[in-house]
Assembly symmetry: C2
Homo-oligomer: 405 residues x 2
């Protein structure tokens, strides 16, 4: 089930944002069939109100049993055996909107946004570049999913242009930094999970209950200005090198819909501490791809292909770790995985890694980093037997920096 907040615009009178579900090329407007929810999913109180919210937060906060009941009901109502919608032409006309006629919004009001650093290949690539092969991984990395807090105000939905950031850049270690537009603008191929039901301050979420709190997944591009980041990030972490914009895909694929794609993740050695131990498959086989449409081209060039299953620390481990100190989470909070790099050169999840910090150009296009007018598109899907679960697109184009007047 892919859930979204949609502003339907298929006629002149603009409709307000509301909750919709992706059904092929169509969107099912849940406000229109709220009356059916009242009849068949009575445990979902006041569906008309929940689905007419401009964000998913209200629905997210209802908890996993309600998300599951909603999914079962939708599968039922959409099956060919069920006449309720099938034989009601008028209701169908109202309830379905073509995706291309709808405006897709940020799916939730995001309270807190956390970003992890959970791909071992990514951490090793970056560590090797900046500290050499022997010191690539920090000592703590194999014991805990390293994470940090990011900026929620600047998370935008796919399709939003991003202005190239300006900032301090150190060109020469023996000189003061200069000020100017970033010249090492990068993407990061990530996925992110939304918190559905949260936890109270002081009360942790055990790893075997973590999935009850995770609502679903989106694609995420954690735009990064490598030059700004390199100068500012010691000792307290990334700040202006990241918080000028983060793009997510509009459709949230609920965790239940991803159950068929659970696989074993990488072997974890050393064994995790007990609060991070997990004895069931917790990685997801999700194919990921990043393409660029350069500013001087009409066609897309594939930059990398990766897979969420390569990620070392699972989503459950990330959430269990996040709350082990009693940190509370709320419906709509977002947790990014960090860059998802794979084991091969053509599965690296950022230009930093692909061009090895600008030492090389991307094959076939003259790019070390992202230029003004370039567009970056992330896509993802799960391959089922005879069907796909798609994550849609996570796209963004870079606009030139504003200069100080």
């Amino acid at each position: 089930m892919s859930v979204q907040v949609v502003l339907s615009s298929n006629n002149e009178c603009g409709l307000s944002p509301r909750v919709g579900v992706a059904i092929g090329e169509q969107i099912l407007d849940l406000t229109v069939i709220a009356i059916l929810f009242e009849k068949y999913v009575p445990e979902l109180k006041n569906p008309s109100n929940v689905f007419s919210q401009p964000s998913l937060n209200s629905f997210m906060s209802l908890g996993k049993p309600i998300w599951q009941a909603t999914r079962r009901f939708l599968q039922n109502i959409l099956s060919h055996d069920n006449p309720e919608l099938r034989d009601n032409e008028e209701l169908r006309q109202k309830a379905f909107v073509a995706q291309q006629l709808a405006n897709l919004h940020l799916p939730a009001q995001i309270g807190d946004y956390t970003d992890f650093y959970a791909s071992k290949e990514h951490a090793i690539n970056v560590g090797t570049m900046f500290r050499g092969k022997d010191n690539a991984l920090m000592q703590n990395w194999v014991y805990l999913p390293v994470g940090y807090h990011g900026r929620s105000s600047s998370i935008v939905v796919s399709g939003t242009d991003i202005v190239r950031p300006c900032g301090q850049i150190l060109l020469d270690k023996n000189q003061p930094p200069i000020f100017g537009p970033s010249v090492k603008l990068d993407f990061e191929l990530e996925m992110a999970f939304f918190i559905g039901s949260g936890n109270k301050l002081g009360v942790r979420i055990p790893i075997d209950q973590a999935n009850d709190h995770i609502f679903g997944l989106v694609l995420m591009n954690d735009w990064s200005a490598r030059d700004i980041q390199a100068w500012e990030y010691v000792p307290l972490g990334p700040f202006l090198g990241k918080n000028f914009g983060t793009t997510i895909s509009p459709w949230v694929v609920t965790l239940d819909a991803l159950d068929p794609f659970l696989v074993n993740g990488p072997i974890q050695n050393p064994a995790p501490l007990s609060y991070l131990k997990d004895n069931v498959p917790s990685a997801y086989d999700i194919h990921l791809e990043v393409k660029m449409k350069p500013n001087n081209s009409d066609s897309f060039k594939t930059l990398t292909k990766s897979n969420l299953k390569y990620m070392y620390w699972s989503l459950k481990q990330q959430l269990a770790h996040h709350t082990i100190n009693g940190c509370n989470t709320r419906p709509g909070d977002l947790c990014g995985t960090g860059t998802i790099s794979g084991p091969t050169e053509n599965s690296r999840g950022s230009l930093l890694e692909i061009t090895w910090n600008g030492q090389n150009e991307v094959d076939g296009i003259k790019r070390k980093f992202i230029e003004d007018g370039d567009e970056i598109v992330l896509t993802g899907y799960c391959q089922g037997e005879g069907y796909l679960v798609g994550f849609g697109e996570c796209s963004g184009k870079i606009l030139p920096a504003f200069t100080i007047g």
Copy 2:
């Protein structure tokens, strides 16, 4: 003007949270005098609605001219020359509530929370402890106000108990980390400013307009688990060592009310880059004090006395830097200053510095760090000619860690 969200509880029928202003030992309930706002501050539209919100966000978003008009009106209505409130006994009875009968709430719904690291003395103390005197300050520190994103969900109002966090702790570099309650629990003496009117994504706030966006200041205790933090924070910054709880004082003192206490801050050498240059006094002379009531005592022991004026990077510089890359801010966002340490040993802003990472005990009480049941109270005030501007209290008591069952 100290503005707050208040739940008046001076009678049996509980009132909903609303906006109030501190007048001595009393609180003026602005919802009760909304009708006077309609008459005298017509530019403030729908005051009844704005002041009956459960947070200040709505009022904050109205912008500086409205905050100033509100302040002028309140000064007027409270002056002895003005009969409107003075001679209306019935209205006065309704409008004033004793502070001790009111419940004070978190003053705003905080979207994003940022914490800076703007005290040079603090940065040098911490740097000296962990990297030695010669490498105490990182190269970037004197060029930019180092900052990072923190957790907004766990920001609580003064008086809220804090549960001691558990987490991974590295006791021996040659062994795996252990798991357990933090044994180096600390406070950090900070202040924080609330964003009033925000800025759009991609559009910076110039330093000479920064004060138009800052609504006001509170006291802040950035509780820190030094042992958890030390192990986790490389390379992406503090996370679980901080996000288990952050306490702020309930009353927001508006920036205008602090104008009389503007002073020159420390000399900045090297000269800041042009976007951080500021040619007017931008530091505030605010006296700060931290006391502890140990778990086995009925009396408070002063731990430190400091002053906001010691801070190297001004609030304006912090906000100009925060948005120089186009990062957007929203009404209710909170920015902490970082620990405010002064130039002397008895003005150090954390136990880490006071006990030099546990090497010494605090004089007179057997404390290297905070123990269960200890209470920490921050206070602050400005000394005017014949009057004080008080910041109230920022207090919290530590509860024992939950153990995993």
